[in-house]
């Protein structure tokens, strides 16, 4: 905890923001960590069950079973599967919306900006078409058909999307998923009162949900998004609260569904619309990136120059971004839109508009996105935004933070652009790994939270430790937002890397931490891993590659984690996902998984220790590969 003028906030890796938040006149999540610091031990261990009227039941030495007879293993794994199913549901909702949007756009012969990706997708899943529209419709239909299958019918694209050795492992383990939505449904049913009491069977379900989440919710969402919105391009971009320019009408976007902003984005740069902003006294409109959808826009930022101001921060920066007073509207469509922004929006007269009712905020005006009515919806949003700007700005004192962030964060890294950067194939990276110039690869992914050492503390510290060991770090998720604002994605951060990695970074002019953007881009990281494994003719668990979600926050992260385990990758977490009350869950996830998929969970909240453990795993894998 840190104290400024009697205000206690949680520790932060981002010192500039930490000071700013501590001096704000309003309360944020960073202050509430203190008043919520006493945690319930039963909750932490996952041994509180509220599934029936006999509960809540908790496990103690004197009460080793719930009233129904459920053991700690049953309670823990039931809770865990519920969380994984919910997390999967979130991502499946996203891919469903993206696929529907692609189909609608293609049917209306609307803009398709990533035709190379469309062709790549068609090749992957074996689709041919007379033109791009027909191809896009067929791709969208194939995705949607799989999502809507019952749980007893296997999804057709899994074999086409998965790396062959993985597919075989999954087939052998019997974890090929049925329809992705039905798998979520099954997870909810199984974990209801007095249904499944088999912890191992439920953990197997988690892996199955991991596969449907990863291949559809992550991998396909990126590809479909790229087709619609344009492919990423590597470039330098400004990040942090400095990107906010009060001379514009500013819309802060939060969520995970970039496509829902596609039409509005086009409109906001139309000369006649800009004139409306001019008439209100502003230079035009700007989108301020926040949470993963901000990362999406940053990744594809080359297509939105003049509109997208930059990524200001991740979920736990959102309150501070609003507190600058320069945001006029929050336009949200999904998580991680914190309820805590509501009182701040009230205080600063910031209008909230929500365009997907699964994430309806209490304060927000609901304008459910619909493809057919997108023109009307965009017009209404624009008019209300201008109105909000006109009424609130005269009575608002700005509290900007121009010194926050930096101007040269490398962004636009994807499975395609990184390969292009390397000269069109992966051999330069493989050569560096084989020769030991780069010891291995660590994907530092997932969310941002305030409790694993504080705001992004473990994420940033672990990243620093890893690069100092000549391990290159790739990021995806809100972890990216924290790491970029702390400067680790600028070329200058090469100074923090070990001597070998530093030399490579300096030669290429790149940072030692490569930003793939939102959590959805974990799907891009999977492609990178698969392509490296393919080039080496090995399976994924053999790669000197580790996953870490040091500051995982949400149920979605647990579904991502289940994907990582299904891929057979070592997965580090800073805090345990409420499972330590079950000896079975701990054993299966941290030990037995190595024999099942090749993966394993490692739980450690200390940056140095975690980095050492991950380095050791990488060294063991190198040794097994005789490199």
């Amino acid at each position: 905890m840190t104290e400024y003028n009697g205000c206690v906030t949680c520790k932060s890796a981002d010192k500039v923001l930490e000071k700013f938040i501590a001096q704000l006149p309003m309360e944020t999540s960073h202050q509430r960590v203190e008043s919520q610091k006493l945690k319930c031990g039963f909750g932490l261990q996952g041994v509180c069950c509220r599934l029936c009227a006999n509960g809540p039941c908790r496990i103690t030495p004197n009460s080793p079973r719930g009233v129904c007879g459920a053991t700690s293993d049953v309670m823990v794994v039931r809770n865990f599967l519920r969380a994984v199913a919910a997390g999967s549901g979130c991502y499946i909702h996203v891919v469903e919306n993206v696929a529907r949007h692609l189909k609608n756009t293609a049917q209306a012969k609307g803009p398709l900006k990533g035709l190379q990706t469309l062709d790549r997708l068609c090749e992957m899943i074996g689709i041919a078409g007379a033109d791009s529209y027909e191809k896009a419709i067929k791709v969208a239909d194939a995705v949607l058909a799989d999502l809507y299958k019952p749980d007893f019918e296997k999804m057709q694209l899994v074999q086409k999307l998965a790396y062959a050795p993985r597919y075989q492992t999954w087939q052998k383990l019997g974890i090929l998923p049925g329809g992705a939505k039905s798998e979520v449904f099954k997870g909810v049913v199984k974990t209801s009162t007095n249904l499944s009491s088999d912890p191992v069977d439920m953990l197997v379900d988690c892996l199955r949900l991991g596969i449907s989440t990863g291949l559809y919710g992550l991998l396909l969402t990126n590809l479909l998004n790229d087709v619609l919105l344009g492919e990423p391009k590597i470039r330098m971009a400004p990040v942090g609260l400095r990107v906010i320019d009060p001379e514009y009408i500013n819309i802060m976007i939060t969520g995970h569904q970039h496509v829902l902003f596609a039409h509005l984005q086009e409109q906001l740069v139309q000369p006649e619309i800009v004139k409306l902003a001019n008439a209100a006294g502003a230079k035009g409109f700007r989108l301020v990136g926040c949470t993963c959808v901000g990362q999406e826009l940053q990744l594809r930022g080359v297509h939105y120059t003049g509109l997208f101001e930059g990524h200001a921060g991740n979920n736990y920066a959102s309150e501070a971004i609003l507190a600058t007073g320069a945001i006029d509207v929050v336009l949200s469509e999904f998580n991680c839109t914190l309820p805590g922004i509501e009182p701040i929006c009230d205080t600063l007269n910031i209008k909230q508009i929500c365009i997907d009712n699964v994430a309806k905020k209490a304060n927000a005006e609901m304008k459910q996105f619909s493809f057919e009515e997108k023109a009307r919806i965009s017009t209404e949003i624009i008019n209300e935004t201008i109105e909000a700007y006109k009424t609130r700005r005269p009575k608002t004192t700005l509290n900007l933070l121009k010194e926050h962030g930096n101007d040269n964060t490398l962004t636009g890294v994807s499975e395609v652009t990184l390969k292009e950067f390397l000269g069109g194939n992966w051999s330069p990276l493989i050569d560096l790994i084989v020769s030991g110039q780069i010891k291995g690869v660590a994907a530092v992914v997932g969310c941002s939270n305030l409790t694993a050492g504080g705001y992004d503390v473990l994420t940033v510290e672990l990243t620093k430790e890893l690069i100092a060991k000549d391990i290159i770090v790739l990021t995806a998720g809100c972890s990216s937002g924290g790491i970029e604002n702390c400067g680790l994605m600028t070329p200058q951060a090469a100074e923090l890397a070990g001597p070998k990695l530093k030399a490579i970074c300096q030669k290429l002019g790149i940072p030692p931490v490569l930003n793939f953007g939102p959590c959805l881009a974990i799907g891009r990281l999977e492609t990178v891993a698969v392509e490296l494994a393919k080039a080496l003719n090995i399976d994924l668990p053999q790669l000197p590659l580790v996953l870490s979600a040091p500051q995982w926050l949400e149920e979605q992260a647990l579904a991502d984690g289940a994907f990582g385990l299904a891929l057979g990758l070592p997965l580090h977490l800073g805090l345990p996902p409420f499972i330590t009350g079950s000896k079975v869950a701990v054993k299966v996830l941290t030990e037995d998984m190595k024999q099942l998929t090749g993966g394993q969970v490692i739980i450690n909240a200390d940056a140095k220790e975690s980095a050492n453990i991950l380095e050791q795993i990488i060294m063991d894998k190198r040794k097994a590969l005789k490199i």
Partner: protein, 152 residues
């Protein structure tokens, strides 16, 4: 400032969360670790406090009172139970204990109990003597239903 401290109880603030019991187990566990990996099924690690309910379901958290006139000390024949003359805490020395359980029978609050698995010693609050921050149960209570008071 008095050296004599007591855990005071405001039972109306207790919501039965048992954080005090887990804190007690955590403070007295034999292995090391965090609240995350405290073994909640380990019968050898027993909480020195407990929460009881009356007929109406009202919670009554029970903690050793370290009584002014401790019946457990008076009843103890082996010298295992003693009243510390300085801090006035009732201390238990397991090495001296003959496991006659006269203390258990004489405790007016029914707080001292034999250990469950072996019945060879008693479970008794030590006011977290080894912890300079004092009783862990008090710090763990989210509702301040238990608190430390200096006694003159």
């Amino acid at each position: 400032m008095s050296q004599i401290q007591r855990i005071m109880i405001d039972h109306t603030k207790c919501n039965g969360c048992k954080s005090c019991s887990l804190a007690c187990m955590q403070a007295h566990r034999q292995d090391s670790g965090s609240l995350y990996d405290l073994d909640l099924t380990d019968g050898t690690n027993e909480s020195r406090n407990s929460i009881q309910t009356d007929a109406n379901g009202v919670y009554f958290p029970l903690f050793c009172r370290h009584c002014d006139d401790p019946q457990c000390v008076s009843a103890c024949m082996s010298g295992a139970m003693t009243k510390n003359p300085e801090n006035k805490l009732v201390q238990y020395d397991g090495k001296q204990c003959a496991a006659c359980f006269m203390c258990v029978m004489n405790c007016p609050f029914g707080i001292i109990k034999p250990d469950n698995p072996t019945k060879t010693y008693v479970i008794k609050c030590d006011f977290c003597a080894k912890d300079k921050n004092g009783p862990n149960c008090v710090r763990a209570c989210p509702n301040k239903a238990i608190y430390i008071e200096e006694v003159v």
